[in-house]
Every structure is written in C-alpha cells, then in structure tokens.
Amino acid sequence: MIKLNNIVATYTTVRGQVDAVDGVDLEIPSGTVLGIAGESGCGKSTLLKVLYGDITYPLSLSSGDVEYGIQDAQGVEITTRNIRDHWFRRIAYIPQSSMSSLNPVIRIRRQFVDFLDPDTDRAQVLEQVRSYIQQLDLPPEALDAYPHQLSGGMRQRIMVAMATFFHPDIILADEPTTALDVVVQKGILLLLAEIQEEMQNTIFFVSHDMGVHYQISHKMLIMYAAKAVEYGDSSDVFGRSLHPYTKLLTESLPTIGDDHLRQGVAGRPPSLWDELHGCRFAPRCPLATDICRSVEPPMVEYRPAHFAACHHADKNL
C-alpha cells in the first residue's frame, strides 16, 4: 500500500508562492497501475515529482509525505525523506521525451550501467542487460547505438527497458507516449502492461488521453486545478463516474462510428493565483449551486473504493 498523506506542493516564483498540488490524500494498493488524468496545469506532473522525491527549488513540499509501503535492506520504512537513495533500483521514472533524457554522446549500453558503483562488474551487468533486452523482443544492436540513431519509438522502448531492468517496486511514467504515433504508442503501452503483469510493480501513469487510461490503468485519479476530484477503479470511473468534470471529459470525446454531437466544457480552469473558494470546478459546472461556490467539497467514498469531491456526486447531468 502506498500512502499519499495530504500532499501540498508549492512552487516559489517571483510573483509569490502557488500550490500546484493542494491536499491530495490517497491510498493506492501495491501492484496497481494508477492512471492520473487532468488538463495542463492541474498538478499531475508535480504530483509525480513529489512521488519521485525530486523536490528541489523552486518546488517544495509544504506539507504531507508519501509512505511507499516498502523497506530498505536495514528494514527502515521508505518515505519521502529517503526515497532518493532508492532511485533506479526501487523507484524508476519514464520521461516524456527520451531524447532529452538520454545522453546524446554516449552509447545506450553505457547509459544502462552509468550509475552503478565503481566496484560492480559492469561486463556482467551488461550481459544481463543484453538478455533482458532480448526477452522484450528488442534488437540487442540497439544497445550499441547512439540515441539519435534510433527511432523515437525504439528510444522510448529502451527507456521502458532501462526503467524496469532492476525490477523496481514503483514506476513513474509522465506522458511516456505523448510524442509518439498511435501505432508505436500501442506497442509501448502493451509492452509496459506486460512487464507490469509479470513484475507486479505499482505504476503511476500520467496521461491527458482518456483512451490510453482506459486501455492500461487499473485505477484512475482525476485532478482538476491542483485538487483530486475523483478516484476509483477504472471500470467505475469510466462506467459510472461520480464527478461532473469526469463525465464531461469522457463524454466530450468523439468516437469513430458515433455521430452524436459533442460539446466541450464551457469556460476555462481557474488560475491558481486567484483566491479560490468552494469547489474549483463550480464556475464551469452545470450542476453548481450556492453550496458549491462557498464550501469546498471533501473527498467522500460514495461507493466502496470509489471517491469523489463533489456536493452533487449522486446527481445525473
């Protein structure tokens, strides 16, 4: 079980401080793929940074922490304080752009073993890397190439291989397929899903594409303007969503073969710089009433393991 205890993450800028994640409180069962969805600026990437323990200026953790539910070799609980010591081996990160994460002037194989202790036998690890790459049906020659010699899809597969080579407990993926074509995207998502099934890692998967989430996420977290607004099993969030924002988001998507007229959501997300009262979605919400504009809705478990932060979660649109 991974516990996010009331996380508030703050950016310090010349204009002052702004909370990009404002009070996210969740428990995620180990071995789940958690999809995180929301619009740009909703705080999903900042939440991943906090989970990775990559909290450096201008980002700071104003309150809360993460308990990862795993222990290190000495039996000490791993939390936000010591997660950085376990990068790569226990927690791994798959970025959006492989080109800016891989070093362009050294070969792929060296990047696999670059961070190892000097007394490790690199040749032996490389042998293991080679056989792991073959297990994933990737060409072993890719290891001897420089990043620019590989296609975008191949590079991102290498990133997936790199992130999973040490069988980490937790994998964080920030829009890992956004820059890729649909055919390549499908290949990578299926590869990641297969690895997860085998290793039973917990994956935090950020994407703005609801279709991608439907394909691979077990659970879904919907964020809006720095708040968590809905959390539950994928089948519930897609099939019987509680929050009007989730409903509008999934219903606004066109589908091939369906000629219904679709409507976008009116208005725009609030600026986090403004003083915000009540429900942050209220100005755009067709169900909003006076209580929504004055009282912030708490996350409530409306059905078993299905939470939403909405005063009118039981009503239909």
Binding site: E39, S40, D137, P139, L150, S151, G153, M154, R157, D181, V182, V183, V184, Q185, K186, G187, L189, L190, L191, A193, E194, H208, D209, M210, G211, V212, Y214, Q215, F238, Y245, L248, L249, T250, S252, L253, P254, T255, I256, G257, L261, R262, Q263, G264, V265, A266, R268, P269
Partner: protein, 320 residues
C-alpha cells in the same frame, strides 16, 4: 462543380546529409488528390509523423515549393507550374491556422495587432471597416473585440488564443482555411469547442477546411473527405464515414486498430516494431510492404495504382 482541392503528381524531395553521403527523402511522392463540390467541405489529412501531411500543407500554403507537380485551390493553381495568384490575392483566399498558438503569436506583440495587419494590409480595408471586420470575426468565434484589444498572448488560455488565430484567418473571408493540428495543443475539455466551431464556420461563412491531424476520432467527427497518408503517399482517400468505418487499405486498418478507444480494450499481445523509417521513404514499390500482412512480390516491384471503389474512394493497394 468547383474543384476545391486538386494536386497533380505532386513531389517534394528533401536532401539530407553531407556532400558525400547525400540522402534524399521523398516527403511527397506522387500525390494525386481531387475534391470537387459545390458546397464547402472539410477535408482531413491524417497520418503519422513523417507521412508528409504537413509538407503537403506547406506546399499548398506556398511555404515550400514542390519539386514537381502542381496544387490547385478553388480552380486556381497555387503551387507548381501554372498561372499563380499574387501574394495578397492568394492570402485573401487561403488562410492558415497553426498548431501552437503561443508560437504563432509573438509574445512581444499584442494579439490585435495581428488582426489589424490582416484587415488593413491583406484585405486593404479602411480604419472603420477594418474594426468592423475584426469585431465580426471575433464575434463568430465567441470573443469580443474589447476583450482582446491591447492584450498579449500570455493573457489568454491556449483555447482562447487559438480562437483568436481562427478569427484572424476569417477576416479576409477565405475560401479555404488550412489548419495544421489546430487542437493538439488544446486541453481535452476545450478541444471540442474548437472542433464544433469549424463546423459552424463551414455553415455560416461557407469556408472549406483542410484539417491536418493525427487524431482520427476528431477527423471522423468533422470531415466530409479524408485522405490517409503514409511515407509521402496517399494510401486511401474517400468519404470520411466510409473510410473510417470500413477501412480497405491494410495501413488504415492498422491505424484504426491502434487508437486507444474508451469503448473496446486491446487484445494483449506483443507487437512487432519497424525501425526502418528512412528507408521506407525511398522504397520504389508499396511503402507499407514491410509491415503489411498481405504483402507479396508485386508490392516490391510496383507502386500500387489507385483502385476506385463503388463508393468513390481510392485505395492504393494491389490487394484492395
């Protein structure tokens, strides 16, 4: 009937590499498209990155010259050999909308200065008519001139700024708007507002659109015609509904199967991957043959011709 869009034997070759190791990439390789209609239409151009869809848009927008062949918009040649319109006349008939509105507008200029340039310089309106044209154009995208005046791009959200760039394109009352991935940078909740706007502009302004996208679902939603491209060639072209609900080219099928839909889950199995992109640009026969389940020796040797189907679509496949 008017010829809304026609390309004939359109080729564009990009040369890469050093002096000694020259590589040519056929970004457009014999593209022949004809759309005729009396009504305004929305034509979608879909394909993956490297399919040539943006190059085709650039040729039509006269941002690059074709290596050979010609392109025609509303019965007039705009690129390649032939009688071409003057630049200003051309801009009052064909207008672009680009992918990222924050890159399209300079952050040091107010956005209304772009509208003014279009109204005064391109259309040649006077001060009073110019303001009226700007007001009308902004009203038709749901904005007010007073709210836009004197503002810089960073004061808008992406969706609003994209509306401003659509309004700017509308000022000359163009016959066709070329929109290159106009919604890919826009958040999901706002995307459909822009897409619906295209539909209402087609109705009210009688403007045709060339909608370039990799998103087949929105292409299905708004287009009348669709052309699917692969490595610089058209593989399937026809009425959007027909092509997307009953694809006949193996590549169109692969593309449709790969869309992550919220209706049907994928079968969980490993997919073979191709890593030969640059080679495919130079293939003589069918460019898709290496990934095609139907490929035979004829696909190596001959470029598949357009096979016309009863519903009017063209499929470029030996086994269609």
């Amino acid at each position: 009937m008017k010829t809304i869009l026609k390309t004939e034997k359109l080729h564009k070759v990009y040369k890469l590499g050093s002096l000694l190791r020259r590589i040519s990439i056929n970004a457009l390789d014999d593209v022949n498209l004809t759309v005729q209609s009396d009504e305004p239409v929305i034509i979608s151009l879909v394909g993956e990155s490297g399919s040539g869809k943006t190059t085709l848009a650039k040729v039509i927008l006269r941002l690059v010259d074709p290596s050979s062949g010609s392109a025609m918009i509303y019965d007039q040649v705009v690129a390649g050999a032939g009688q071409k319109p003057k630049h200003r006349e051309y801009l009052s008939r064909v207008q672009p909308i680009f992918q990222n509105p924050f890159e399209a507008f300079s952050s040091y200029r107010t956005v209304d200065s772009y509208l003014e340039t279009t109204a005064y310089r391109v259309v040649g309106l006077g001060r009073k008519e110019g303001i009226e044209a700007m007001e009308n154009a902004l009203a038709s995208v749901g904005l007010k001139y007073a709210d836009v005046r004197g503002k810089y791009p960073n004061q808008f959200s992406g969706g609003e700024l994209q509306r401003v760039s659509i309004a700017r394109a509308l000022i000359p009352r163009p016959e066709i708007i070329i929109a290159d991935e106009p919604v890919s940078m826009i958040d999901a909740s706002l995307r459909m507002n822009i897409i619906n706007l295209f539909l209402s502009l087609k109705q009210d302004y009688k403007t045709s659109f060339l909608y370039i996208t990799h998103d087949l679902a929105t292409a299905y939603y708004i287009s009348d015609y669709i052309a699917v491209m692969y490595r610089g060639t058209i593989v399937e072209f026809g009425k959007a509904r027909g092509v997307l609900t009953d694809p006949q080219h193996p590549y169109t099928r692969l593309l449709l199967e790969s869309i992550p839909s919220v209706r049907r889950k994928w079968e969980r199995k490993r997919m073979a991957l191709s890593d030969i992109e640059t080679k495919e640009f130079r293939f003589g026969g069918c460019k898709f043959r290496n990934r095609c389940p139907l490929a035979e020796s004829i696909c190596d040797e001959q470029r598949p011709p357009a096979i016309r189907k009863p519903d009017g679509r063209e499929v470029y496949c030996h086994f269609a």
